[in-house]
Structures are given as C-alpha cells and as structure tokens.
C-alpha cells in the first residue's frame, strides 16, 4: 500500500462537503441546506446591491447606466432568484425562530419502535413546504411583473 495521509484525512471530517449533499437525511436537512444557500446568496446580493446604489454618488448618468444593466433578461432572472431566496429565507427563518426556542416540536415521551422523531413532525415538514410554496409563488409573481411588460 502507498503511505502517507495528512492529519486532515485521519480526522475523517466531512467538512463543507457534508453540507453539500442534502439528500441523505430527509426534508429537514434539505431545509437546512436551502437556508444556508439562500443566506449566502442574499449576502452576495446585498454586497452587489450596495455597489449598485453606490453609483448614485457618480451622478444621474452613472446611476442610469447601472439601472440599464439590471433591465436585461439576465438581470430579471437574478432579481427573480433574489425574490425566491428572500421569501424562502424569511418564511423558513420564522419557522426556525420558533423551533430554536423549543416551540412546535412536541413533547419528549417514551419512544416506541419504529421510532419516529417527534421533532421532525408534520408541523415542521408543513412549515418547510409552506416556505417552498411561498417562494415559488413570489417568484412567479415577480416573473409576471418583470417579464409581463407594461
């Protein structure tokens, strides 16, 4: 056998790669993954947004030139994505505020086989689906406004 493996290999940690595969553990893990992904996406958007609005300091022409960039199909697609990300992140975030405070999770009890975790109950799954549906509806509405014309 070949030798040498770094200490990082021996630690055998999944690292960021562990976050990137949400399909193994059910809807709560998908929700966790989407919450992270939309959070990072929104952060990137806010940085871009600050850059965009900072063009106001360059005068009306600079501002109009920047606005023209957003009035393209690609610009509209990005905005629709931002609408979806912010809607999902907010709706799912409200669910998480309650769960992180121990609300809506059910009570501990005496587990019976086959074990169904009470914390992963229908209220949580419904919350995730509501956030997804709201995001889809918001994106559709955004698309109809942005691409629907005057």
């Amino acid at each position: 056998m070949e030798t040498s493996s770094s200490p990082a290999d021996r630690d055998n940690r999944e690292g960021i790669a562990g976050w990137l595969n949400p399909s193994r553990y059910g809807w709560e893990r998908v929700s966790y993954w989407l919450q992270r992904l939309t959070g990072v996406g929104l952060l990137a958007y806010f940085i871009g947004h600050i850059y965009e609005t900072s063009n106001l300091t360059g005068g009306i022409d600079a501002w109009n030139a920047m606005l023209d960039l957003t009035q393209t199909p690609l610009g509209h697609m990005i905005l629709i994505l931002v609408i979806g990300m912010s809607t999902f992140h907010s709706a799912n975030g409200i669910r998480l505020i309650f769960t992180h405070g121990g609300k809506g999770l059910g009570k501990p009890g005496r587990p019976d086989y086959p074990y169904d975790a009470v914390s992963l109950n229908y209220r949580q799954k419904s919350g995730i689906w509501i956030a997804l549906i709201l995001a889809a509806v918001a994106m559709l509405y955004g698309a109809s406004v942005l691409f629907g014309g005057e």
């Binding site: 562990g18 553990y25 992270r36 405070g101 587990p111 086989y113 992963l120």
Partner: protein, 280 residues
C-alpha cells in the same frame, strides 16, 4: 381498555413502519469495505467481498462472514449484536447506521458500501476513535448533581431515594436511552466543520440532566452549553434524530434546552423530594 387501544395503535404504527421498508430478496451481495490504517499513514482503498445472504442477514453478519472466511484482517468493532452497545456504528451506503441493526434486505443495490463513521478520527478499516466524542459527553457532567442527597454508598442505611412522578420521568427518559453509538455525531453538519462543537449526543445529555428534577445544577449546565462553539451552533438540520437507532431524538433535546436558555420556556422545575430511608 385504554391499554388495548394503545397496543392496537402501536401495532398499526409498526405495520406501517415495516411497510415503508421494501424488502429486497437476494442470495448474495457484494460488500465494498473501506480498508486502510490511516493512523499509520496508509492510504485507504476499497476491498470487495462476495457474501451469501439470507432474509435476516444484517450488515454485521455479512462483515463477520467476510472476516471469517475471506479476510481475517478486516478491522471492525462490535459487541452485543442487538443494538444495545452502540459499538458497530459505521457508514452504510453513505448513511451512519448500526451494522447489527441494518438488514441487507433493507438496502438498495447489489453492492453495499461500508465505511468508517465520518467526523471521527479514523484508526483502521471500519474502526474510529471515540476519544473526542466521549470527552464532549463527559464535559456535560452526565450525572446527577444534588448536594442534599447522601451519596455515600457504603452507608446504605443513611441513603435516601428521590420521589419522582411518571411525568417527571417522561421528561428525560427518552434521552437516557442514548447508547453513545456516535451516529448522530457523524450525521451532524456542524460537527463536520467545528471540532469544538459538543455535538448532538452531548447536548442532548446536557438536556437530559438539566430537566431531571433530581438535579440542581441547571445553571452550571446552561453555562456549559452557552459558548461560542456551543448550543447556538446547532441549526436544526435534524439529521441526528433521523439516524438515531434508539429513538432518542437529540434534535428535540437540543431545541428544548435552547428554549430554556433563550427564555422561551420556564426554567423552574419542582425539585424531587428526598425520602429518608433511615426514618422508615
């Protein structure tokens, strides 16, 4: 009457649960086992073993068959073979499971991939190092703190017992079923990137003792988990509860403990009374 209804409900639940797992009939499987001694600096590789199986064969049975008849050097840790000791935790087809509790007939595909638990330092083949995991567990002081009770076990006549109601017990009993198999620790996405995060097992144990009304160290326990790398690093991915083989539901314990820490839940508990045996 109530008991009969409860049993009927459980039977129905069991039947539905069994229905969820489609049984796959096979006469043999290929085990794809990760091999290598990373502690000694070796690179890892996968070895394939063709193993005959029956309907009730577990992954542990298949591994032990391969070890007995094909390669004695397969490194594997196991003990009770009945999901009580928590020794045979490993990644089976990418998901942390107990090898003794996973039947090959539950798994899709002709090749079953078996790897050591992720997020634990690797020793050899399927064996991992639990030192850090147990250190987090011990750090939560998993025992009752109570200055009022006489703990001198040599003075039996002076020992007292706590009076608890079934409701008091139900608050922590579920979390005391933890067998420390490490599956939750392996599935947790926070543990995957933060070595100082105590992990679902330790945090659930913190709640188990926090909510026990024989314990009077609630503040100390909250202080332990209220750390930069503590309970607030949990983002409720729920994977710990998905993989738990004993129905402990660590995610529930963690969120309930955080509810107390954030003030969402009342922190007052009625202390269990001490019954003095010497006065009987």
């Amino acid at each position: 009457m109530e008991t009969i209804e409860k049993i009927e409900r459980l039977d129905k639940k069991r039947a539905e649960g069994h229905h969820k797992h489609r049984e796959i009939q096979r006469t043999s499987i290929t085990l794809k086992v990760l091999r290598g001694n990373r502690a000694a600096g070796e690179r890892t590789k996968y070895d394939l073993f063709e193993v005959p199986v029956q309907r009730s064969t577990t992954v542990l049975d298949a591994l032990l068959y391969a070890k007995q008849y094909q390669d004695h050097s397969i490194g594997i840790r196991y003990s009770c073979r009945m999901a009580s000791c928590g020794s045979c935790g490993m990644k089976i087809n990418g998901i942390p499971r107990l090898a003794c509790y996973t039947k090959v007939s539950e798994l899709e595909g002709g090749v079953i991939t078996v790897e050591p638990l992720a997020n634990f330092p690797h020793i050899r083949d399927l064996v991992t190092d639990f030192e850090q995991f147990f250190a987090h567990h011990k750090n939560m002081q998993p025992y009752i703190h109570n200055d009022e009770a006489d703990m001198d076990t040599k003075q039996v006549n002076r020992m007292s017992e706590f009076m608890q109601s079934p409701d008091d017990v139900d608050k922590f009993l579920q979390f005391s079923y933890c067998i420390k198999c490490g599956l939750c620790y392996s599935a947790c996405p926070t543990v995957a990137t933060d070595t100082r995060f105590p992990g679902p097992q330790a945090l659930a144990q913190a709640y188990r003792y926090f909510i026990d009304n024989r314990d009077n160290a609630s503040k100390e326990r909250l202080d332990k988990v209220d750390d930069r790398h503590g309970i607030f690093r949990c983002h409720f991915a729920g994977s710990c509860s998905t993989v738990c083989p004993k129905g402990v539901d660590p995610a529930l314990g963690i969120q309930l403990l955080r509810g107390h820490l954030l003030g969402f839940s009342s922190n007052e508990k009625k202390k269990a009374e001490l019954k003095d045996r010497s006065k009987q």
